[in-house]
Symmetry: C2
Subunit: 250 residues, 2 copies
């Protein structure tokens, strides 16, 4: 069945810079290894998106329309549709003494962060350091090869795919995630291991909100709840079905 907007799909992709053939992103572990961009502990393999959900570049959302499982496609992406044109205002000259103040010795190619923006040192000379705050891929023509791995039809699997996309917790087991659907409400009980997350509750809330929004916007449910259940451990020898738990300590 041909892919349309709002479909939940899984795809593999590899993105290259057109001019150089350099691979900058891929879902394939072997290709990442060959290109020298392997990220430790990252799970490689097909990634889920909602078509039209802006989870990847818009050009990819558009390219998958009408494809089917197993289809592949090459996409060319202009800078405007990719990571933007290069902006010369984002190249800044910074006095060397600013670096010295912070005990830094800048060198060409060094990456740094200033007020939340990532930059890369272009030149160091005459007591001044030229830093480029453009995105590494700004001004580049890109080529993506994509392969459609799956079109997800089942509602539970759709929901799980959005958890996979938005909820990053190492070793979380999606098979241990319970999903209950009741009318217009989806109830999600995540793998219990996620309760021991060191991330802030607020960060988890934002991830949950993104999952909920993709469900509202693309499925016929209006409420999404996340449930953590704590259950009394019945001690050995005790009857699990017993309703009596009034251990008087008087």
């Amino acid at each position: 069945m041909a892919i349309k907007n709002g479909d939940f799909i899984k795809l593999e992709f590899t993105g290259k810079i057109k001019e150089t053939g350099e691979v900058f992103d891929t879902t394939n572990e072997e290709i990442a290894k060959e290109a020298g961009i392997l990220v430790e502990n990252k799970e490689y393999g097909p990634i889920p998106i909602v078509v039209g959900g802006n989870h990847l570049l818009k050009a990819i959302d558009e390219a998958v329309i009408d494809l089917d499982v197993g289809d592949s496609k090459e996409i060319e992406v202009s800078p405007a549709d990719g990571f933007g044109e290069r902006d010369s205002n984002l190249i800044q000259l910074i006095p060397m003494k600013e670096f010295k103040k912070q005990g830094m010795t800048p060198h060409v190619g060094m990456e740094l962060t200033s007020e939340g923006h990532k930059g890369r040192v272009l030149t160091v000379s005459g007591g001044r350091v030229k830093v480029d705050f453009n995105h590494d891929l700004a001004g580049k023509n890109l080529e993506y090869s994509i392969v459609i791995s799956d079109i997800i039809e089942d509602d539970e699997e759709k929901i799980k795919s959005m958890i996979q996309l938005h909820y990053s917790y190492p070793n979380m087991d999606l098979d241990k995630t319970e999903i209950k659907i009741d009318g217009d409400k989806v109830s999600i009980k995540l793998d219990e291991i996620t309760r021991f997350d060191q991330k802030s509750y607020m960060d988890v809330t934002f991830a949950r909100f993104r999952i909920s929004k993709d469900i509202w916007d693309n499925m016929d449910y209006e409420k999404v709840e996340f449930v953590d259940e704590f259950e009394k451990k019945v001690e050995e020898g005790e009857d699990q079905s017993s309703e009596e738990n009034n251990e008087s300590e008087e």
Copy 2:
């Protein structure tokens, strides 16, 4: 009705060191102010406990038995029943150079933390610093005055009292906490503001576990769930009862 083990109560207390009359802890804001131990942003007033739940000193759990609302009592607590006897092994001589290494200049009365243990400098002389890692109240005879403010009978109020005790989040409104009881299961929807907690999810999990445990141990429920619900916002002009949300973007 006289208080017994397992009751949910609220009480006011003030704890003093018997020998000196110095107030070291109190639920009363005025008394805290007078004693110079006022903690900013702390909510003063009666605090909830489960009798026998070890939320305060065991001596207090025992003292409230058979009291009733409005009753007050003076309790004497020996060091053994309070914060322990003083242990001379917990007084340590530390070479001054260890402090210098860390750029610290120790002085008498200075508080410090070493491997998670709080200590206080007793003397500084001859290149050595004597630090006492005993609890400030170790070895002290204590006097508590308590007043029983309330005996909580209602199950919802009991549950809310344990949230108040264990779940510390500034500006959380217990009136915005929804509690549903269904058979042996308690379902708790906390004030939505708590979702933006900067604390780690794990810390929140521990607080929730403590609440759940006090419920299991002292009430006739075996499961406690915490629910965060996310609901689609209906845009203005849209009919809230409408089941149609398939905005086709094709």
